[in-house]
Symmetry: C2
Subunit: 406 residues, 2 copies
């Protein structure tokens, strides 16, 4: 088993890089804070006998040699970037759980056949550069390196620029990295394990998710002189569309989810009726056919709403991550490890996207979930117990050792 | 009568300072573009025999001497700042119409008893620094100079800083400027004159207007893992409030107006349910008691909507400009001048706020309206005909000469 105290200490340490007053973390991808945590990760893993390198997307690999140099590595990992008002566990636990595994092997002098690697994937959150899972997406062949590098943040700064600024561009081309298996430990970010009082979620797959950018165009007009019936108010129309986006999820309850996270009205002056409103839409469902039906429903509702409100609407798809089913042998390793360790468990489908989604396209993959407080995530109040994160890391350790035997 | 061609030429010239591709103007208060148009105004008026000075709020006064040095000036004017996507007439016509009056007197060698002044009021639009009519508000005693100077734009830059940067802080304290009368020429910014095919609006007053800032607080949550029934979505609640704000105007039709011009959702990430949404509200009515009833209706609806959606709401009043009735003698001067010139006309209440609103608190005031295309304003497509703007300036000339006789 892993050293739970050392793991918790690492979680507290990393929470300081970009730590917020409310106890959360604001560590957007490739910012100065992210540079700091990357340096800490390199130092920590080097002290555990690893060599640390980058690929061309800034993905950070800490490698512990195996006894058989002909075998590809078994990878663990997740991401160290966070949301603007993010928590201390989302992503971070998957990297630090991997470090905890390395530490156990190091402390006990255990060697493995395969080399072991802990990976910190660049820009998983999608909060600074959209879409999410951008660098693991390049690794898994979902995006080209050119596309990913050209993504710009709200200030217009590109991911490529920020990779170079940090000195994170490695010689190895992203994706040219053979691996025997990939295991990602993560907090559930949802309420199921806590509600059922189970310690471990054996993740069988990840639901499908689609993103869109909606643009609603009306006509700007003076707030004091334009009679209500003469207006083409893009924001009033958008408000009605928001209600309809919500209705899409309700029409596909209980699994259908819809979210609008960003909205902007132009020209953004208190005494001007908005001429244009832009908002994002996030639709999710574990079933691809149902997700497809949700999309069609959504598009129809937007058109109907635009027509009823005498405005123009354009819906642009910006991301499509289909539902994923993980590797049966990797899932079995997680399940058997959990049984051996005597933890309560259940199978679970992930509601959130993870680097494992894209890595699973090229490497046999599975995930381990542990409960988090009230299922709250993407929120500074995100919380998990020392017992649960230790249990998850123990499962990770055993699953990796099992894969090493195969 | 004024030289209509020279007036039109001035309108075309000033439209170039901050001119946009779509034929509108983006000349926010005290930006570089505003500095340029101020320099042009000073040069133009100096060439017409005026001296140009600033008061402590950067209000720009071009003064043509009268024959009797004991008399206070008769003022004309409006503003040269615009909305972000503003037009070429809103405000500008009132200043350039004043310049046209000066030009006629200059060209014909006519002298007046009173000195005449054309004033360019600072930051009328409220688009860069809220609230609108900020410097004429200090002139009229509605705001203190400290309050006005401390107003900051979206980037946090204060009005005081920008006044100093431009060298616009004059020795005369704002408000210590006696005047015999004030006449402001403006496009109607609404559809009435055009629809009734009348050339001149004799403005008897301005409707009441109130501004609020609404903050809606829910709980941020993960878009992929948080079941719909467990969400406290601040944006969904805000969308329903937008519908209710619209209903406030509908409940007080046809005169009641309500507008939401600015909206922001936080933390503004595509995969995070918004924890907070802020939006502005602009309520207007020509009758103060009805406006008061609209406010009470609005506050109640916000509370009800917050409760129904399990979110918190705070409504903060940010501006209150009560309904105004202009000076009967000044109104009569405008009406008689219009009759003499043989233009069609009607009495009208302004839907938009104007510098005249606050100036009227300390100086006998009236306004002259001319039609604008389809009533469109606060829009780059804003338009008016050479004939109408010339007619308005002629009325301005006659009204000023009438006031000079009294
Ligand atoms: N784990 C996680 O929060 N990833 C972000 C991608 C998503 O929106 O699901
Ligand atoms: N004239 C004008 O558009 N003024 C801005 C103040 C208002 O919102 O009415």
């Amino acid at each position: 088993t892993v050293n739970g105290q050392a793991l918790w200490h690492d979680l507290v340490t990393t929470a300081a890089f970009g730590g917020t007053e409310k106890g959360g973390v604001c560590r957007l991808a490739l910012t100065d804070e992210d540079q700091q945590v990357r340096a800490w990760f390199e130092q920590t893993c080097t002290a555990l006998g690893c060599t640390v390198s980058y690929d061309s997307m800034g993905n950070q690999f800490a490698r512990r040699p195996g006894t058989r140099s002909d075998l590809p590595p078994i990878m663990m990992g997740s991401h160290l970037d966070t949301q603007v008002t993010g928590g201390r566990f989302d992503g971070i636990l998957g990297v630090l759980g991997g470090v905890a595994v390395l530490r156990t092997l190091h402390d006990k002098g255990i060697s493995t056949n395969h080399p072991l690697e802990v990976v910190n994937w660049t820009n998983e959150e999608g909060a600074r550069f959209t879409p999410p899972m951008l660098a693991s997406g390049v690794f898994g062949g979902a995006f080209t390196e050119e596309f990913a590098g050209s993504r710009a943040d709200a200030a217009g700064i590109t991911l490529r620029h920020e990779l170079e600024r940090g000195g994170f561009v490695g010689a190895e081309k992203c994706g040219q990295h053979p691996a025997a298996a990939y295991f990602e430990l993560h907090i559930e970010q949802g309420p199921v394990l806590e509600a059922e009082e189970r310690t471990i979620g054996v993740v069988t797959g990840v639901q499908g998710m689609r993103w869109y950018e909606v643009s609603v165009r009306g006509r700007s007009a003076h707030a004091g002189t334009t009679p209500m019936p003469m207006r083409k108010d893009a924001l009033l129309a958008a408000a009605r569309m928001i209600e309809q986006v919500n209705a899409v999820a309700q029409a596909h309850a209980p699994d259908g989810l819809s979210t609008i996270g960003i909205i902007t009205a132009l020209p953004a002056s208190s005494n001007v009726v908005p001429r244009e409103v832009r908002f994002t839409v996030d639709l999710r469902n574990p079933s691809e056919p149902v997700l497809q039906a949700m999309e069609e429903d959504f598009l129809q509702r937007m058109q109907d709403c635009a027509q009823a409100n005498d405005v123009q609407v354009t819906v642009t798809p910006t991301w499509n991550s289909p539902a994923v089913h993980f590797d049966p042998r990797c899932i079995a390793s997680v399940e058997e490890s959990t049984k051996e360790l005597g933890y309560t468990m259940r199978d679970i489908v992930s509601g959130a996207g993870h680097d494992a989604v894209y890595v699973s396209r090229v490497v046999p993959t599975a995930m381990v979930f542990v409960p988090c407080l009230h299922g709250i995530s993407h929120n500074e109040a995100e919380s998990a117990t020392p017992e649960d994160v230790t249990a998850g890391s123990n499962v990770l350790l055993h699953a990796v050792l099992k894969a090493d035997q195969v």
